[in-house]
């Protein structure tokens, strides 16, 4: 469904954020992208929807090649890629409803969106999604009145109302407490399953990633060091991704939680 071919990103400063990356994500698969800060995780997902222009290489979404698209065609394809951000990136001074509906901007003309006259089907869908994440009663609140977990739920609704085929998720839990982090990760993964969405999730928390995803990709200095199931993350593998450290505790923690979840 998503295919990256020899993707390279070199910043103006000369830093090579991505070194000829090859990656394929089949339909409906949820992938966690782990790696140290500066490994190129954020750059990678931003190169897919071209918030960051890749230097060279190809990105295929189904059969459409994204890197060569014109501005208008790119906007059409962006509608199929929902994005969720670390600091939620909600428009703080707009209401929850406006924030969710802003996910439909790619489908609605300028004046309709400017006058907030979205089609009734969009509004219905927005209410349905807010209800699904448990925020239906918050629709009229301003985004800056919400707590972190609530904001991220609104962010999720905004991404889903685009009716995407792929979710690009950038550190969804980095600003949240451990409990909310798990709830948010669980919610994202559940919704992906419900809707058959593929997702790439950047995440710092290795244990959290192991708990929820089917596939883990380890990135180091812009190159893939590991690609496999969460069980394959041995201390040796984590050492090649992050460097020398005592990894036993991290992995044990994840195992215990899996047992708990199974019970």
């Amino acid at each position: 469904m998503l295919r990256l071919e020899n993707l390279v990103k070199t910043y103006k400063t000369g830093d090579q954020a991505l070194k000829s990356l090859k990656l394929e994500v089949p339909e409906g698969q949820v992938v966690a992208l782990i790696g140290p800060s500066g490994a190129g995780k954020s750059t990678l997902i931003r190169c897919i929807n071209r918030l960051v222009e890749p230097t060279s290489g190809k990105v295929y979404l189904d059969d459409v090649e994204l890197t060569g698209l014109s501005a208008a065609a790119l906007r059409r394809e962006r509608r199929r890629m929902g994005m969720i951000f670390q600091e939620y990136a909600l428009v703080e001074r707009l209401t929850v409803m406006e924030n969710v509906l802003s996910g439909r901007l790619g489908y609605v003309g300028f004046w309709r969106s400017f006058l907030r006259r979205f089609p009734q089907t969009d509004v219905d869908e927005a209410f349905r999604l807010l209800d699904r994440v448990g925020l239906a009663h918050m629709a009229d609140k301003r985004a800056d009145e919400l707590s972190g977990g609530q904001r991220q739920r609104v962010g999720i609704c905004r991404a889903l109302i685009q009716n995407p085929a792929l979710l690009l998720v950038d550190e969804p839990t980095a600003s949240l407490d451990p409990k909310t982090s798990r709830q948010i990760m669980r919610l994202i993964c559940e919704l992906c399953k419900e809707r058959g969405l593929a997702a790439i999730i950047n995440i710092h928390d290795v244990a959290l990633a192991q708990m929820f995803v089917q596939r883990v990709i380890g990135l180091r200095f812009g190159a893939i060091e590991f690609d496999g199931s969460p069980e394959g993350l041995s201390p040796d593998v984590l050492t090649t991704i992050y460097g020398e450290e005592d990894w036993e505790a991290t992995i044990e923690e994840a195992d215990e939680e899996e047992v708990e979840a199974a019970e």
Partner: protein, 271 residues
């Protein structure tokens, strides 16, 4: 080096001895320049008039009090004109300043090397000339009256508003813009959803702040014939009608106090 080893003890000082020496020299030069300038000014001053000042001030105070209250009935229209000059001038200037600000802000300008310098030039040139001088020019062009005052205030305010606004645009949170862009929104939609909500409080604050300043500026525009209460002020001054002058000053004070109160209320309501 601020840190020195002295008998096994580490000494720390804010400056090295060399730095503190140059500091003292700079202070000395500063004081010398001040003394020299003082002397120059003193030579050019007719001290007789200065020593005389308290007596003259007392004289004017006696002539100006009590204000001529009956004159008040003639001030209603001019102070209304003054308010209108300030308000209309501010509105017109905002209509011009908003697009200029978007063209001047680094993150929204369509072209960094051609349009941005032009926008910055508009900002600098309108800001650099006082509204009184704009009024003088405009009176020569479009004749005396309220309209010249409105345009003078508008032109003078464009640079001020656009400068503050473009700084606000440059300081927006880019992640919100990124998020709206990622939905597939068009350029104008990104502006309406990602940027405008973020700068709206700044825009409202700038507007009432400038309106507040413009009320003060438009009170003097009449001095050069551009309408408003300044016209009464200048004619009263010309005929040495001090009781009228004092009343006009009181009215201006009142208008400014009210405008400050309104703008404080508006700013409080928006943020």
């Amino acid at each position: 080096m601020p840190v020195q080893e002295l008998k096994g003890q580490k000494n720390w000082q804010r400056r090295t001895s060399r730095e503190s020496l140059s500091h003292w020299v700079l202070w000395l030069i500063g004081v010398a320049i001040f003394a020299y300038c003082w002397q120059q000014i003193s030579d050019a001053t007719t001290w007789f008039f200065v020593w005389d000042a308290p007596r003259i001030a007392d004289d004017i105070w006696n002539r100006a009090t009590p204000p001529r209250w009956s004159y008040f009935s003639q001030l209603g229209k001019p102070i209304w004109d003054t308010l209108n000059i300030a308000t209309l001038g501010t509105i017109i200037s905002l209509i011009i300043a908003v697009p200029v600000a978007f063209l001047a802000a680094r993150n929204t300008t369509p072209s960094q090397y051609i349009i941005r310098p032009i926008a910055l030039l508009i900002i600098v040139s309108t800001r650099s000339i006082n509204s009184l001088i704009w009024a003088l020019l405009l009176i020569a062009i479009i004749g005396p009256g309220v309209f010249a005052g409105v345009i003078a205030i508008a032109i003078r305010s464009v640079g001020f508003c656009a400068k503050l606004l473009y700084e606000a645009i440059e300081e927006i949170d880019t992640s919100q813009v990124e998020a709206i862009t990622a939905t597939g929104a068009s350029r104008w939609q990104v502006m309406a959803y990602g940027i405008v909500p973020q700068i709206l409080p700044a825009l409202a604050g700038i507007a009432v702040f400038r309106w507040d300043i413009n009320i003060r500026e438009s009170t003097v525009l009449g001095l050069v014939g551009a309408g408003g209460i300044g016209l009464q002020l200048s004619s009263s001054l010309n005929v040495l009608a001090w009781p009228q002058v004092s009343l006009i000053l009181l009215v201006i004070l009142l208008a400014v106090v009210i405008s400050e109160w309104v703008s404080a209320k508006v700013r409080g309501a928006i943020i």
